[in-house]
Amino acid sequence: MATSFKKTLICAPKVAKEKTTPDGLYWKNLENPITVKEYGAITDIDFCQTKPHNFAVTNSMRVQIYAAENNQVIGTVSRFKDVAYSGSYRRDGKLLVAGTEDKLIKLFNPDTRSLLRTFKGHEGPVHVTKFLEDQFRIISGSNDQTVRVWDIPTEKEIHVYHEHKDYVRDGVSSKSSQDIFLTGAYDHMVKLWDARTESSVLSVNHGFPVESVLMFPNGGIFLSAGGNVVKVWDALAGGKLLATLTNHHKTVTSLCFCSKYERFMSASLDKHVKVYDVASYQVVHTLSYPGPILSHAVSPDDELLVVGMADKLLSIQRRKKAAENGSEQAQHRRSSRLKGQGHMARSFVPSKSDAVFELKKREILAPYDKHLKSFNHSKALDAALQRRFRVGSPEVTVSVMQELIRRGHIRAALTGRDDQSLQGILAFIHKNLSNPNFMGTLIDVFNLILDIYGMPALINSGPLETQLVKLKELVSTEVRLITGVHQIMGSLDLLFTAADNQALTGLPVGNNTAEGKKPEGSSSNSMEVDSLTEDIGQPTETVPLLQAIGSLAEPHVESSSSPRRPQKVSS
């Protein structure tokens, strides 16, 4: 049956590398970061929930307000006498609150930067200030180990909670209830509060000093971060631990949601931001930064990712827009062209006698496939040896070589090449020879080159000779390596089998024990034991069991020639 040309199959070997996932692509689609050097470590970043999603960055003795459109500072609140903490917006973006080192909580108008209220009462530096969902109250947490609730209009303290036993480090208010909020402290405890009651509603032990807490909008599940661990808790099930995520290797400092609550992020002192799936709690992407991260935030529309680091750096990354627009434009152009055609087709009605031919859609073929299709084998090899394939995806080059071998034209494709192109091929072979997936094909090709050009001709050319010498070195290294691997595998096999049998010693030495059966580690692995079986298996056929064992124990038996290191065994 007539078919269309089948593209060359690229047999990409499975290598342990980062998989391209939709999330990976999504988070890679960020512009180059804009980095701003601030006066002090950036302790808090908060996005305004209303458009245009400006964000407040708290560092040293000020809270800076950045415009989301141009990443420029549009205002600085600097009416602090000491270090400021936790500058956060009210939900409507009309108020901004911050705590200070000098035990005060200050409330500002972010547009005019005018100080509206000052809340006094804490006996230690205030590290947490957040608005409650009803917009009229503020919660605060301080180094004096208290959590307090304040009334904004009257500047009065409504509640003081003395339950935490150490510095309170983070808090968050529930989005589903006006009175519920959550705090985490250095006493390892995460406590859920109801502003209508005098004590905490729920408390869970995180196990490490809590640096950050986060609550899902429905209030049912909350997260806590501290140490290098993020924990997920179910508030409705009375604080049941749902998951423990230990993906960081240093203290996790910050948590936030992104992608419309479908993902959340954690940032850590190990300079990484990790993105998790909220359903499976699996890490779906990791972003790296130059310094230990103290705080980070994502704008509600996912456009901006702002990360604040301990070494006073603020990184602002915007999602790429230009490219998308470009592709949209291209699409638009294409569709308009199609429309034109459609218009033509509609206006012209073919008469009965006209033969109508559909415009054939041409499949886009890779350059090497084009040459293969027209049987230009030498050119196909040239195309496959282009830099982008040779370096970027050697499996393409090897697959084309394989296809040429299958077609029986590899010899023709390799003949008549000048030194430079030969050098390219040899360099390619040298680079990829140690890849076990490519080894067979590349050895074939190399043998063929030696056949075609002959040693003397190759050696006479200076650069080719150096290539050959390099190749030779590589081969001997490879042989050494493989020999070593086989030795180790042989001795390990022996040990494993012995260990298995040790475990089975309780069983009678009967005929029902496993022989040579084990999980597939590698194919050569099985080969090794195979040879062992061959060596020992035969003589025992006629000899009774005990005798067979006895003869094996004797040092003079030939069958002990399996690869193993006695020194290693006895040590």
Binding site: R406, M455, L468, N511, L552, P563, R564, R565
Partner: protein, 823 residues
Amino acid sequence: MALIPSLQAGSQFGLCKFSHDSRYLFSCCGSVVNVFNTLNGECVHELQGHTKQVTGITLNKSNVLQLISCGADGLLIYWDYLDGVILKKHDLHLPLCGLLAINAEKKLILMLAQLSEHKKSFAVMLWKKRKNKEAFDQPQNLINDCDANPNLVSYGCMRDCVAAGIKNKLAIHSMKTGKTKIVYDTDKFNKTKAVTCVACHPTESCVAAGLENGRILLWYNFFTDAAPAISTLHWHSLAVTCLSFTPDGSCMLSGGHECVLVRWQMGSQNNRDFKPRMGAPIHRIESSPDGTLYAVNTADNVIQLLDISLQVQIVYRGLTRCNFYVKDPIPCGLDYDPRSRTLVTNGLPGHLQFYSLNLNKQLYNLDIVGQNYISPENIDRPTVVTEITSVAFSHNGQWIATFEVWDDGVFSPEMRLKFWMYSSEAQTYTLNTRVEYPHEEKIIKMLFRPSDPNKSQSDQTSTLVTIGKDSCFKLWILVDDTDIYRENVRWDCDSVGFYRGLQGLSADFSSDGSTLAVAFEHLLTIWDPDNGVVRTTLSNGISPKENIEHIKFGSNKCKHQLVLATSNHLISWNLLTLSIMWSIQKQGSILIKDPASDIMALVSTEKLCVFRPSSATMLYQQNNVSSSQILDAVFVPGARSNTLTDVGWPGDSQIYFYNAEQQLITLETPDHQQDSPKKTKIAQNLPQTALSSFIAESVTRETQDTKAKDTMCKTAGQDMIYVSLLQSNEPVSLYCDKYLKNLVVKRKQLKRPLSQADDAGDRELDEVEESSSDSESEEEPAGPPLKCAKSAENVSSRKVENMDKLLSKPLDWVQWCSSLSLK
């Protein structure tokens, strides 16, 4: 009532012709003429009347609703193709090879015929009808020494000339003048090349001939000029196999081994159109009378209808003939797909074909390999294609496992195991997992594990066992590969098994999937597939020299029975008593089992034997199933009609055979033959081994006391058999820790004298240390501990030596490296 073999499918499409209105296409197909509708592709009629191959068809020019066919049986038959009835029949008493033209007014028939039944010489002959009589005059030979290939003769040039290619010459006979002229090419390049096909221009005095070297020559004015004008067309690189002019003579179509259809515009010969990748070498091209359709017959037994823009409109498929240049047409054998109830075997190169028995036509070719078929540069040296050598279907048809090999013996071979999943949305198979080099050598057999009906589906993992030539078998299991983005499953290697380094030859799962039997040369091992444990080892019961070629577990009532086929014997083991139930001498190359019942069949080219594993009585035997070698056979459940169930063997499963002529054969009752059922109980042949006496006993006593081990142990002087019956054979792995202990203990012993020596004094300690570190310098005997230490030292050093010896086995790498260093 005896069954007779009947051809199910596989006859090849021969010549084809269009009806006058292009609405029907006639095609010779074996001894029948198929009438196809060109609009919907349905087969309208099968005209049956010839007893041998139909070789030529043409329309009756005086009555276009009549079709005339001739056959190798010497018959000339007039058909009414619309009703599918025979109108007239003439016996010309000569094997006819082709029908060129019939002129009804002049009562002339121009045919290519064999001169006699026995002579291999052919001639273009003219039969004249006697006036007012239905008989024919003695034929007149127009051109002698022709070839039997109908592509080599042509009639045309304004209904005047007959042209025939004879070796490198062309004989042209004019009907008007009665002259014959031999023309050949004067160009020395083409002179010696044989003519491979001939076509006469319909309206001009022009004859085209395709040559072996791919050139097409056109002769003009051969009767008027002394030296005819010749023009050469060259595009084909291999021999041109067929040539055809369109009815108006404006275009010429040519085809060859390149699988490309070329359309040449006459007059401007550089102007040509191509239809590449037709799938197979082109055998014949025919254009419809109105010139809008071309019928192209390709070597894979397919007729494709192309329109004038060379787009494929309709495809008529027969059983695909595979591997155009290779001897073994179906390396993967014949399989039955339970899901679509189709027979599956190799199709086009790198494809599997699905042949529906219900519709009795081929459904489709499934592309497994995904590589373009490249025609060879030289017909004598065909390119090696990637072949599917092994196929397995899971028991619900959800999965197919395929194994493909490319191996030309020179370059490093390519081997791939692929798992295909049927997706009910797409209604096709999609590739799920691809494994490069699943074994170090080729896979010779693979099969899926049947599911246990007593367990739920979720408890059981799908398992596939593959047996490789690298003397191990692997178990592949379906594992979950789901992540947060998609749900997926894939296949993974679970474990590797081997036995004494013997070559695995066959394997089978028991019907409930709980037991796996693997044949290793002459030994049979029973495994637990879940834990990977050998349960027991059995022999073939005959001799260690006969390898077990096939094993099959019984089903239903014979679940516990395992039937082995060696090259000469058929043996049935009872796995519950571990005894041989029966053993008979029988030759057969194929052992198949009916998936629906407990019967099995042993098939060889000469004979078919159907039996139950429970007894050595043959239920049915049939000789001479096929004239050529039977390559594979398969039971298809539910394929036999009810009337047949009392004939042959019980059950409604039908056996299908595939022979070397690429035909699908089955057994059916002759409609008008009433014979008594041929049911004979064959005498049991006693095998010529020492076991023969025992087996004779065992069969007569049936299963009463066949504790094989006991009985045999009592029989003296037959050690040679028990050598292979090794239930007491120790696995080598048991020796590992013994061996290690041997090493470890001796080191401890080495330490013990040291601690004793601490008490005794420093002098002794020094001596011990000195002697143990340097055993060769030691001269005086130093007591038993020292000897021990010494021997331990020796052991270890010898071990190291041996190990080095083993490691220095001639690796390919090492050789290659050393060859490099020699330069």
